[in-house]
Assembly symmetry: C2
Homo-oligomer: 541 residues x 2
Amino acid sequence: MAGIFQRSVKLRTVLRHQRLHRTFSSRKTARLSAVGLCGSFHKLPSGSWQFGATCQKLHTVADGPKPSAAEAPDRLPFSRVTQEDLAFFRKTLLGRAITDSDFLESSNVDWLKSVKGSSEVLLRPQNTKEVSQVLRYCNSRNLAVTPQGGNTGLVGGSVPVYDEIILSTALMNNILAFDNISGILTCQAGCVLENLSLYLEERDYIMPLDLGAKGSCQIGGNVATNAGGLRLLRYGSLHGTVLGLEVVLADGRVLDCLSTLRKDNTGYDLKQLFIGSEGTLGVITAVSILCPRKPKSVNLVFLGCETFEQLLKTFQLCRGMLGEILSAFEFLDSECMRLLNTHLKLPNPISDCPFYIVIETSGSNPTHDGQKLHNFLEEAMTSSLVTDGTVATEESKIKALWSMRERITEALTHDGFNYKYDISLPVERIYQLVTDMREHLGDQAKSVVGYGHIGDGNLHLNITSPAKDPALLGAIEPFVYEWTARCKGSISAEHGLGLKKRNYIYYSKSSQAVALMGNIKAILDPKGILNPYKTLPDALK
Amino acid sequence: MAGIFQRSVKLRTVLRHQRLHRTFSSRKTARLSAVGLCGSFHKLPSGSWQFGATCQKLHTVADGPKPSAAEAPDRLPFSRVTQEDLAFFRKTLLGRAITDSDFLESSNVDWLKSVKGSSEVLLRPQNTKEVSQVLRYCNSRNLAVTPQGGNTGLVGGSVPVYDEIILSTALMNNILAFDNISGILTCQAGCVLENLSLYLEERDYIMPLDLGAKGSCQIGGNVATNAGGLRLLRYGSLHGTVLGLEVVLADGRVLDCLSTLRKDNTGYDLKQLFIGSEGTLGVITAVSILCPRKPKSVNLVFLGCETFEQLLKTFQLCRGMLGEILSAFEFLDSECMRLLNTHLKLPNPISDCPFYIVIETSGSNPTHDGQKLHNFLEEAMTSSLVTDGTVATEESKIKALWSMRERITEALTHDGFNYKYDISLPVERIYQLVTDMREHLGDQAKSVVGYGHIGDGNLHLNITSPAKDPALLGAIEPFVYEWTARCKGSISAEHGLGLKKRNYIYYSKSSQAVALMGNIKAILDPKGILNPYKTLPDALK
């Protein structure tokens, strides 16, 4: 503690010298939650899909005659749930086959309230055997199934499009094992990310991923969508940290790849296929994951920059001077700050700037970390890369500062109808897309904001309008996708494709690659019952 | 430098206090090389394989009537290379279709000289287009192909079994791009790992992997075999660090997944399939990989322990106290030390102990790193976890100490015929296997040694005998595999399965998983021309 105190004094001196001020909010970080939001739904139009012929429409076009490629194709010829089916589910799941419409309401709609299905049954298995029994039955009956975790996704991947059966992992929430020497956690898919974090923190470890939706999202959904989040810069992607998966395939077979080994080169690494497959290849029922030690010291810095170029130079300086203790480097622009001020009444902790940076350090020695941070801040301010800033070392203040980054999504929902884009780009091009989009849209949009994970080259571009606006959408797309493709970027860095982005896959993947994905889908789910209308495009090129 | 000096003094004081001495060798680390070794070959016997019927035998059983499951099945009914085929290759590759027997000699045999093929043509394409032309032709002609990188593998995966055409990536050795902001390197598959390391070090970065064979092995082969090595503890596996691959499929189609983005969730992550597939699913022609910053400070510590339990406690202490700067934690036993002394004349840098530990730290601040190391060593010695040790901070001394770990493979080759096992286990069980094996074999073996990557739970168990000894092999196998399977370990942690271990896959993978691997092979290489007789078992359960 003496080290922290000493460091705080030093930093304060430096900051005062540079006319920085320390103004912390004591508000707690809000968590995203799928419960309690409301809004309007759009209905879903026609098209064709690769796994079957067109069928009876349940939804019609709501906004004009020309459907967007994001909207759903016609319902495929899956069976409809009968009384006999319900009897089987009720017998198998004993009180956990839900048909109550109030309960179904929240499971049928996504967190953004942008996609709504009309499923009439929600199944809540408690273990792998039950998942296997359900899927074997559904496959034999040609009943479509939408696996659902915390339902916090942003691309309409976790809700039914029509009457698909919802298979929730919420009751599969047991921790199966934790090895305190290796840091390897094994748990059921339905464990909520924040609960796992709390469990591990008591044992001096942390989860290798963290994201705004942690209070609701489940580890199975995180893996199925290859969630990125705030710690990817430091601990890497789930393709590296997930060591094993148990997956139930479409026909009910259980694929046991639930290894708890750091290294295993015996044949093809099949579990990788399911990481990021959005529930279209199998239902993840258990996960083993390598967890890092809990850092003994965490610091958060909130800085202001005059230009995006200075922000990038600050990133470079930071990587060199903070080195192995850098655990996050995030940014938001002044438009994000305006929305946080306006809609959530969160005041700017520093003076107004065009760009803001959130830097987190996590290390094993508070004194060393403080010294590294001090040296970095001194250099960043002396060389005029940053113009204002504030530092937090106490947990409540760290949470308050993090909320300036984590609550942007929430602030946006209060600004109007959201058009959300989650783009990977070479880091030096990231903000040019925001600038170009603003110029391109002119007065058509209410707000055009950019924020995201600089360290991962990941921009969250969001555009709002007072209400849903097909003309605005026509101006945004395909402009945003073409711009991204020209820079060899990805049109979905971490959100996945789900329902909304499935037909834009060709902007980031070759037709050879997409065709091969189709082949893999056909092997694992020949009837296409698992999460139909998601991830893969309606038609292969 | 003042920091280093100060630290050295401090450490020396501590070490003297604990009766540790500093005795460094100035010898340079030797590199493994495929050139210049000699030994005897065993010929390969009969069996059946999943992709075709049995055919004319080129090899016969050398050692008794009962073939081991490691030995090769009968030749499959691939076409034989004709004069027309050679004419095509010569026209396509212009002087790089080699039929000279001297040149072919070293490409037909593996580094251990344990497997020898009889290929009559070696193809050396320079670019992806040429690889594509060659494979399209071979696929249409039903000619089998063995892709070959640096040919440093230990399981017979990189050499032909019969007359397969050898497709070498050695001339595809260009660096295509390096982004100095993101640290993302893009290069052709044939770049030698050490050359990439040297290129990056000049630019203040390093490769995320390092292994003893770095002077010969190629990045394409590293990826194809999912090489682990000495830095995995810190930077994770290639499943996390490889960002993109370009792969030529069996029929000549080029699969472009050569993304240079840290995040890309547009569809299934196909490149993962090829990482660790040992050239059986496609030929990797280019790689993009995320490279860490070059550490500003590296220290190496060589310690001695009385028991394996103390070694494990030292590991736990080390993870807590060195935290984010720990970059390797390796071990060797006293039998390894004896072989290094005897066969390579490498003296023990400390006093004799039952177990030795090699710890590497890599960080951004020499003073901080030195302090952390000092604190750790003080604690380890005060609590009597370690009994002797030596520290190196200068590059030449670091290399000399590393050679005690890196040259064990070389020392083993001088001890007789090698039976090599590369096992993943829960870390607390690792050495029990060595002890049990010694007891089990009694006087049958010449040496039974254990070393490896404690931090990754990876044991290299090696057994030697004066000459190849079927009775000894019968005593080792399936004992070693059954022992490993009982602990839910992996029978190949990082070496892969290749020819030698293919039939042991079921000790670590379920029949469901292996069947799915077979399905994926059938999609990508329906004629089975790519690296036949490797990775997958002869018969599916």
